[in-house]
Amino acid sequence: MSTEVAPDNTSDTEQPATYKVIGTRPIRHDGADKVTGKAVYTDDLHLPNMVFGAFVRSPHAHARIVSIDTSEAEKMPGVLATCTSADLPDPWDKVDNLGEGCVNYAHLSGNVLARKKALYKGHAVAAVAATSSHLAQEAARHIKVEYEPLPATMSVLDAMQDDAPLLHDDLITHTLGDEPARPSNISSHIQFKKGDIDEGFAAADVVIEREFKTATVHQGYIEPHVSVALWNEDGRLKIWTATQGSFVVRQQMSELLKMPVSQITIVPCEIGGGFGGKISVYEQPVAAVLSRKCGRPVKIMMRRDEVFEATGPTPGSFMRVKLGATKDGKLTAGKAWLAFDAGAFPGGVIGPGAMCVFSCYDLPHATVDGFDVVLNKPKTQAYRAPGSTHVAFATECVIDELAEQLEIDPIEFRLNNAAQEGTRRVDGPVYPRVGLVECLQAIQKSDHWKSPLTGPNRGRGVACGFWFNCGLKSSVAANVNADGTVTLVEGSTDIGGTRTSIAMQLAETLGITAEDVIPQVVDTDSVGFTDVTGGSRTTFATGLAAYEAALDIQRQMVEQAAQIWECSPDDITVANGVYQGNGRSLSFKELAVQADKVGKPIVGRGAVDPQGSTNAFAVNLVDVEVDPETGKVTILRYTACQDAGKAIHPSYVEGQIQGGSVQGIGWALNEEYFYDDQGHMRNASFLDYRIPTCYDLPMIDTIIVEVPNPDHPYGVRGVGEVPIVPPPPAIANAIYRATGVRFRELPMSPPTVWNAIKGQNTGE
């Protein structure tokens, strides 16, 4: 079931506009390709003379690399090239922003192929290219690597200790205060302050402080990382790859291989999921070097265990959150101490985590301390609202406990304190018009909230979530065809239907149908720079570029009409795609047919770089039943409400909400990296790293709230990421009501829940 609601307190300027295309549900343009097996994903490519690469990976969580001997592998028939970190140029210590996080190229290069040390089990150490994938895997086993194993550190608190094994001898904590004299595993300490927390906590009638832990989890896209590289004899490099951002792959390749961006073409194939995990490069530089060495196209596709062990999971964390409130339910102060693991290299997602921890509430006084900590796990990456899910788990559970102690309804308590226009976040920014209050009200009015939940072992929970959503750079070109259709050329890789949501904005602006637009995602030589498909930005920012391109087309069409009708462009009016002037009137399509015969081609361009955030809020409501005999938690009913600003294609907005909610449910109930005492992941398969199946779930009801974003012509906010944020705390709060136990560790898997219930029953 899905519902769309406009907020009650819509102001005059926010009257819902009447649209012809926006808000409808056309079939996606790439739909037929994707239901017939014709869509070309990277692994579907088979280039002439292509060979296959495979990695050699560290069997140790932490080890010095003493020597690498590739000679035996190189003698095998069918083996064409090998590659180690010695084949990559010496990296430079340079930091770049990739759209959803920064990267230091020295670290990136060392992650692609280990240099002096292997820093986690599965860390790539060498690679080989051979005439078949089987042969490549076999040859990889004949590359001899001598290791000197070192002690590993696997949890964030352990890694912060003074006597913890150091991953990087030169890592000095980056902090605003005095630089420490000695290296450590703490790569940075960030702090945000607002007001005076001592004053704030003194004014509180109730203060609650709790500690939380979350396990490392993976984005879990179904398509493994895969690339084909062709390094040509003229020095040009072409890479077909599964990526969220072809231009950021080009940027990374340029820096890692020290060659100009103009020598590199990245062809984004269809991509089988990303969720933040397909932004950093892994196999691309290695495939490129192998191709250079053997003169043939090289394909590398990771096995699933390699994806789990060696690509970006999102961090495990330890968090302490303290909140105070008055008797009448006003929050007075908040304090958070957050330590996130970054994996083997600095630069995890603690930044956004620290910014989001109190982002749903109007807190007069707050302090947030955040620590980025390296340890012997794969380098962490963004995962859908990176960092926000962790901190929402902590804050929303404490909020629920406060409401309970104060005997205030949990939604009323949140409404009392909800962030709204003018609220200043702890890290500084002041919100423009946002929709948290409207989402809470929509949940309050929902049939779900109004329906009583009865029965033993059942409970209901609610939680809020926030994600910034970003703008960043996008480019499109739009060409008017002789039949009045428009070809839309864009650089945003399409992971979930954005060809259509972008095309719909062009169509709405021009007054044509969504089907009259033919969108194409093209390579990096064929469109202007476009940032990643990430940050919930694509429908917002690339949509904005399409809107600009449409206005550009409209200006040119007016000029053509003036020429045809022999009048001044000033005498021509355009409304709903109808051009009128000099007593005549033509639709866009009719005019395009005539213009094709008389004038120059009509080519629209759109290039944008919107700054700041578009601020998405979500509220989830969940009913669970806990099996006291097994600890298994069953989701009985789920309602996810979100402010989309404006839903361009409501089906795909619902899809983002449902998909994000279910990823959050998986994170809450099952997903985690199991490490043994050697630092080896013991569940690197989809059998043992258990993401939700459809048998684990009910329907996910959605409520789309539309509080328009003032910075977009159609009010779009972006929708992709925030849906994953509220599920873990909403479910924890529901399990508490079902069992009487407050869970403060993720995942709340059957053994954890069963043990806690047992402990409660036996008074332990």
Partner: protein, 179 residues
């Protein structure tokens, strides 16, 4: 050394040579260019490689290509007929039941097998029937609804794979050969 295998794929007779270690998935994709079935895990956990083998949905990554001798195989490429999408494909598109699309071929094959066995499944039967296929994008809601919608179309109940040789006849063939 390679083995010669003769099969029927999407209604046509197909012969191929394969190594004993090659999976059916590998041969379909790399030797026969039927890249609609996808490799997500290569160990039978994600269902992206689902194809019909003698009337039953199987993970083609867990079937050796040599086992396809004499078998009748249907892949996602064979679901649309004569330029027309199958009702399931149409309902997946109308219901926005795909996002990235990598799992879609496997879901379509599995859902078609389900509807042929049980033309009017309940929601729980659909969820149970598709539990071997992982989707990380949609949360499954729209996939389940698309299958429900397809079950309501008259075409969904038209003769399809159910009229082709089933498991029983396959077993019979194998036994006959071993005799």
């Amino acid at each position: 050394m390679k083995t010669h295998v003769t099969t029927t794929i999407n209604g046509g007779s197909v012969e191929f040579l394969c190594q004993p270690r090659q999976s059916l998935l590998e041969v379909l994709r790399d030797e026969l260019s039927l890249t609609g079935c996808k490799e997500g895990c290569n160990n039978g956990n994600c269902g992206a490689c689902t194809v019909m083998l003698d009337g039953l949905p199987v993970n083609s990554c867990l079937v050796l290509a040599v086992e396809a001798e004499g078998a009748v195989i249907e892949t996602v490429e064979g679901i649309a007929e004569q330029g027309h999408l199958h009702p399931l494909q149409q309902c997946f598109l109308e219901g926005a039941a795909l996002q990235c699309g990598i799992c879609t071929p496997g879901f379509l094959v599995a859902a078609k097998a389900l509807l042929e066995k049980n033309p009017q499944p309940s929601e729980q039967e659909i969820r149970f029937g598709l539990a071997g296929n992982l989707c990380r994008c949609t949360g499954y809601d729209k996939i389940v609804r698309a299958v429900q919608a397809a079950a309501q179309t008259p075409e969904a109940q038209s003769p399809g794979l159910s009229k082709r040789p089933g498991l029983l006849s396959r077993t019979t063939q194998t036994e006959a050969k071993s005799l």
